[in-house]
Amino acid sequence: MSENKGIWVFSESYDLILELLGKGRELADKTKTELSAILIGNNVQDKVADLIKYGADKVYIVDNPSLERFQAEAYLGILSNLAVAHHPEIILIGSTRNGKPLAARLATRLDAGCVPDCARLSIDENGRLVGERITYGGNAFARITFKSKPQIATVPARAFDKPEKKDRTGQTVKLDLQFESPKTEVIGRKPLTTSNVRIEEADYIVSGGRGLEKKDDIVLLEDLAKAIGGQVGCTRPLVEDRKWFTDWIGLSGHKVKPKLYIACGISGVIQHVAGIRDSKIIVAINKDPEAPIFEIADYGVVGNLYEVVPALKEELKKLLQ
């Protein structure tokens, strides 16, 4: 086991690779080892220099027209063949809808453990990777380490900051591999029509829960969001039961970490709280003084959101002028 060396990062999402490089650099410096990025795609050669500037010591690149889009078996084959040849100690993979199953299958092929959706990563006194993740439906954080190598962890988007670009040099390794043939065929693809920036990227979020009485009332939240340059979000019941939105914020939906989260008419069940826990400041407006949301809020107003939200919008507008 001692021959395993180096930290690898991979994601099919370029933004996530950069975030992984930031954390990976920190872990690599601590364990005095090499940090490698695996770059897979079509016409991606021009990204190599940047990956090195963002922290990679080495970039393994597989550039091929057939790899334009994510292809599970091809990507899995590349990663597992590389890992068998070079024995990395740690592999960090972006926890996307495609990335997580990829990590699970890679771990299975390599007879390795996998800790998914790590919000934090560190190295313990024995040099082992420790991942921290939400578990039990948002009720707890589990700290998990590994008993075998490679140690594979997946990391969600925005868990770690994108690092600063630095002037540094590194090595590029071009690979020419045979690709595993696909077991599935994508026969249709529709881009999601999201009018706004993704909610994970939002600095300010005004979010609604069951305290909203009718769909038209969403405009109240939109007005407040507009006044502060933010976005509107919601809890799961507004999607599942009322069908007012298509996406919700929470453990099973989008996990957000804005600078400011304003929860309007949200009771604060643990699954929702798990999705907003990393917000810098949480404001709660709810008419029920016993609502659990107040326990996790920085500022709470016990009151009618139909009065408080418009008034807050006016006051903020005044102060922000």
């Binding site: 990590a103 092929r109 390795a112 700290r143 599935t184 993704r198 709470g300």
Partner: protein, 255 residues
Amino acid sequence: MKQAVDVSQLKVDPATRQLVTAGAPKKMSDFDKNALEEAIRTKEKLGGEIITLTVSSEDAKAVLREGLALGADKAYWLNDPALQGTDTWGTAYVLAEMVKKIGEFDLILCGDSSLDSFSGLVGPRLSEMLNVPQITSVGKVTVEGDAVIAERSLEDASETVKAKMPALISVTREINQPRIPSLMMIMKASKKEIVAWSLKDLNVTAEKIGSRTEIISVLAPKMDRKKIKVTGESVQEIAGKLAKAIIQEGVIGRK
């Protein structure tokens, strides 16, 4: 089908931040109920037999009976105390061995994640062990001839994916609304068969399924929030105070 801790009923020991999991109520993991419902709907259209597989170191009979009442034909239960020391690797390994022992299958439906651990690894691991196509995050599935066609949602797109069966599909909660079993179904279910196996029946040793990971701690998160209640005589006063507090936090303001 996983018997999961009912996370909505979990309690935390405030002194130690430890979860009180001993004796916590358990139930069928909700995603798995969606997977079973989808299996029942597929059978209603195309016929066939529905088998449920459960891996558990504890008594899971209530969950197995519920699955049978909902419409499964037969339940297989791998019950062995050695399973306590395993993780997603071992769970998937045991499931794969169960599938191989049971014989041929067309489609394996599983929940995209489980209610309690929410890791989403067992499905993909199982597909890899069985060397069959897998489609995750599935919100719609249809069987056409010897192929399965599934719609899955990604971060920025939705995809329609086709795979030749046998295949493995992981479903999301959005795929359907699971039924509630009728009294008659519940009574009928008591006559259906539950096959209980131990690791020995699969020729699997406890060492073979040893965990690749190790849980160091499971603690309720610390929530260091200010918890300031903003009060006042009028809505305007409250809103004014709140707006000022938000600006003073420095998270928002003049550029």
